[in-house]
């Protein structure tokens, strides 16, 4: 075994449920319905209490972990001969199981407060709200602050965005396991790239602005009644509540997962996740890149098709251009499906320039 390349051909476009047949539309409708119910109704609460869980979110966490574990089995059956994929998916599922499910489940039993260590601000948008920080034990408040403001940029600079988006994050984890059957459906057009850049940076700006406004509100200590009402009020259109509704529930949940079977598993990560946008900027400045082996690309399009972030990898590969794209989550699939071994993910130092194209004169034999 070679521990890297694709092992056996895929029949993706011959499977209706993976190529937008009516089954895919029904699956999407079911997923969207589930998320609408989860966020806006309480049908799951009695089920949760019937099996002894504190609330519906514990039930959701359990279902999420099961979906991820099941998806991981599917993923590893298709792409599991690759060492990178084996390690990455094992870590990602392990993080979900331990940090995002077992630990939050156990912490309250030990008399603590539940806390999701694997979700960081600004993805966990309320983590740096002053009201949240104030309510946390000091070690958890420090963890939130240091992870979001210090560790994240440093790790992204050294390893690229992937350390989070495809090794730790639960959204990315679900996308790469349960969502993997649909990864080829991500739009790759230039128009979709333009939309992505505007949308994702807008959400990032909104995330930073709303957190700052809430911080200001905290500093003012509610002295300005109108300001507090607009920013932190409990009516649905206050800054805080709107963010929770539009970005936290609709974009991350309903659209993010509900659209898997139609538009691929990274709709949220690519277009709306504020964390991904910030990590992408650090990545552009940092060491991570995809190295292209010159003059070996046959323009087959496997890399572009199976890129879940809609990056036209082929356009770089066929022009012999090593590259770093802000969107790239470093899942490694382009290198995995490349039939000519042209692509390689690397944390290379910036000083190391591309190997000069070698077009040497003939040996004198």
């Amino acid at each position: 075994m070679d521990l890297q390349g694709q092992n056996g051909l895929m029949t993706t476009f011959r499977e209706g449920w993976r190529s937008r047949s009516w089954i895919a539309w029904i699956l999407a409708a079911l997923l969207i319905g589930f998320y609408l119910d989860l966020y806006f109704r309480d049908d799951l609460t009695p089920i949760a209490s019937a099996i002894g869980l504190k609330n519906k979110w514990y039930l959701y966490g359990g279902l999420y972990t099961v979906a991820m574990a099941g998806g991981a089995v599917y993923y590893l059956r298709r792409h599991g001969n690759s060492r990178y994929n084996q390690i990455r998916i094992a870590v990602n599922v392990g993080v979900q199981l331990c940090l995002a499910w077992l630990l939050p489940f156990v912490m309250p039993m030990l008399g603590g407060r539940e806390f999701y260590f694997s979700y960081l601000w600004p993805l966990a948008y309320s983590d740096l709200w002053p009201s949240t920080l104030a309510s946390l034990p000091i070690y958890l408040a420090l963890y939130s602050l240091i992870m979001a403001l210090v560790a994240t940029p440093i790790l992204a600079f050294v390893f690229g965005k992937r350390w989070y988006c495809s090794w730790v994050c639960g959204c990315g984890g679900l996308a790469n396991t349960f969502g993997d059957p649909w990864r080829h459906l991500t739009a790759t057009s230039t128009a979709s790239w333009r939309f992505e850049k505007v949308a994702v940076h807008t959400v990032m700006f909104v995330a930073i602005a709303s957190t700052s406004l809430l911080g200001l509100d905290y500093l003012l200590d509610g002295q300005s009644g109108t300001f507090h009402w607009i920013v932190g009020g409990s009516q649905f259109w206050s800054v805080k509540e709107l963010y929770k509704l539009v970005i936290g529930a609709i974009l991350a949940g309903v659209v993010g997962v509900g659209f898997y079977p139609l538009f691929g598993p990274r709709v949220w990560c690519r277009n709306f996740c504020p964390m991904a946008a910030m990590l992408g900027l650090f990545q552009k400045l940092g060491r991570f890149r995809i190295t292209v082996k010159p003059d070996m690309c046959i323009s087959c399009g496997n890399c572009t098709t199976y890129c879940e972030m809609g990056i036209d990898v082929r356009s770089y590969a066929q022009s012999n251009e090593s590259f770093t794209r802000a969107a790239c989550v470093g899942c490694g699939m382009c290198a995995h499906v490349c039939p000519r071994g042209v692509l390689k993910l690397e944390n290379a130092s910036n000083l190391q320039t591309d190997k000069a194209r070698v077009r040497l004169p003939v040996v004198d034999i």
Binding site: L3, F13, S82, G301
Partner: protein, 474 residues
């Protein structure tokens, strides 16, 4: 200035893009019988299995021709009128006049020399239309990715012997996919056809004339591993078996070989490709292989008429002219041809040979002179069996490396080629071999034990696989 390009493949489209970049106002016309859109021919196999769609293998947006102002003529060219400077078209269409012309019409499958090669259920795997035929044979039609736009757009102006005609299939008559598919020809297209049939859940017979698979590139030990992988997937690999006839009345029923008769209800003939140049007639000079003879600047025997890609006989490193049927060289030739079409001086300089492929699930990289029987060549061969299975063959002459053949790992061929040009010794190369590694992360690096490295020093233990043979083949 009117530039006409015959062929919508990689050489033709690269040339057209170079011309457009340099000369925004020139008329550029692309004549193609095969397809409306440029696509990656090397990727046909993935469209067949459904791993990719037709759209996926088109490297550009579909509005490329409009955006670049390329006029497309979907028709069969039937000849070049050198005097009137025009390309004649089939089907009563008006000739297309040109000032400068690029012939980039590529290859066509080498037709089967046997009786019965035209039977229903027999075809090739080279063109868009061959893909449609094999999709019809195995699945009864295209995948959900859909067929290309205007798949039969050329039919009004084509002929029965055109390689761009969809051959008749036997799906309906059989009532399903073939039960006894066969592939004839032990080369790269042959193994691709075998792979797509395996992906469709079939167990093809693979008839190879030679003693082992792909002797042009692999030695016996390397090839045996590939054959082992094929057999693991249920392929009936039949070495040293010569086909004598394809048997059937309307549809193929059996293959007659020098070892007996084999049941067969669908057959892919993959015995190589030949330049698609018969239609050129006396217009330009052709060599005995059918390639359009060009000089170092890719100009044919006619002033202002160039040729690039698979159909051109270009000068190789040893001086002889031969067609060079490879994707990347066609792209490079197209770029040179584009500059020549603009009136620039440019030379096509072929560097050292390199190539890569994927044989079933085994990655293959080669660089330099391998399996060429160079005088005095000695081969150092190493097989790795551990977490990773791989082989590495280094070809040397007088303790200077001249070639590399590697299976099972990813290597950077540019580093190999640099070492060859630097006249590195075998020992030096073995000590530095990891610098050429292109393996993905977490793959344990290749470790060559000291005793294997120093085979060379022992002299007697040096593994000589092939006896020295006279002179490289010209």
């Amino acid at each position: 200035m009117r530039v006409v390009i015959i062929g919508n493949g990689v050489a033709g489209i690269e040339a057209a893009l170079v011309v457009r970049e340099r000369e925004p106002s020139w008329d550029v016309t692309i004549v193609s019988e095969e397809s409306d859109h440029f696509f990656s021919r090397t990727a046909l196999m993935w469209v067949h299995t459904g791993q990719l769609s037709h759209r996926c293998i088109e490297p550009h947006d579909r509005d490329l021709y409009e955006r670049m102002g390329f006029e497309r003529v979907r028709a069969r060219a039937t000849g070049i009128d050198v005097g009137a400077r025009a390309v004649n078209l089939a089907g009563g269409m008006d000739p297309v006049p040109f000032d400068r012309l690029l012939i980039a019409c590529g290859s066509r499958p080498r037709p089967g020399p046997w009786d019965g090669s035209q039977l229903r259920g027999v075809g090739h795997f080279v063109t868009h239309q061959d893909l449609a035929w094999l999709e019809n044979e195995t699945y009864g039609g295209p995948s959900r990715g859909g067929p290309p736009p205007r798949p039969g757009g050329h039919l009004a102006a084509t002929t029965d012997d055109s390689p761009y005609r969809v051959r008749p299939d036997g799906y309906a008559a059989r009532g399903g996919p073939p039960k006894q598919p066969a592939v004839i020809g032990g080369g790269l297209i042959g193994i691709e056809a075998v792979e797509v049939l395996v992906a469709a859940g079939l167990k093809p017979k693979f008839l190879i004339r030679e003693d082992w698979f792909w002797p042009m590139a692999l030695d016996e030990a390397e090839s045996t591993w590939v054959a082992e992988r094929m057999r693991h997937h249920g392929v009936d690999v039949r070495l040293d078996e010569n086909v004598e006839a394809l048997v059937g009345d309307d549809a193929i029923r059996a293959l007659k070989t020098d070892k007996g008769e084999l049941d067969c209800d669908c057959c892919v003939i993959a015995i190589g490709v030949i330049p698609n140049t018969e239609w050129l007639g006396e217009g330009v000079e052709l060599d005995r292989r059918g390639g359009v003879v060009v000089d170092g600047g890719l100009q044919t025997s006619v002033e202002g008429v160039f040729a690039a890609g698979d159909c051109a006989s270009v000068p190789w490193y040893h001086g002889a002219k031969m067609p060079e049927q490879l994707w990347y060289t066609a792209r490079d030739q197209g770029r040179v041809a584009g500059r020549r079409l603009c009136g620039d001086q440019a030379e096509y300089a072929r560097g050292l040979w390199y190539n890569s492929a994927k044989l079933m699930d085994i990655e293959y990289t080669t660089a330099g002179l391998v399996s060429m029987n160079v005088e005095g060549e000695r081969n150092w061969f190493f097989e790795e069996r551990g977490k990773v299975r791989s082989t590495l063959r280094v070809v040397t002459v007088d303790d200077r490396v001249i070639g590399f053949n590697a299976l099972g790992r990813r290597w950077d061929h540019t580093v190999f080629n640099r070492w060859i040009a630097e006249h590195r010794s075998l020992r030096w190369v073995l000590d530095h071999v990891r610098e050429a590694s292109f393996d993905t992360e977490f793959v344990p690096p290749l470790t060559i034990p000291e005793e294997d490295k120093s085979k060379e020093l022992g002299g007697a233990a040096f593994s000589v696989i092939r006896d020295p043979m006279p002179a490289p083949r010209a």
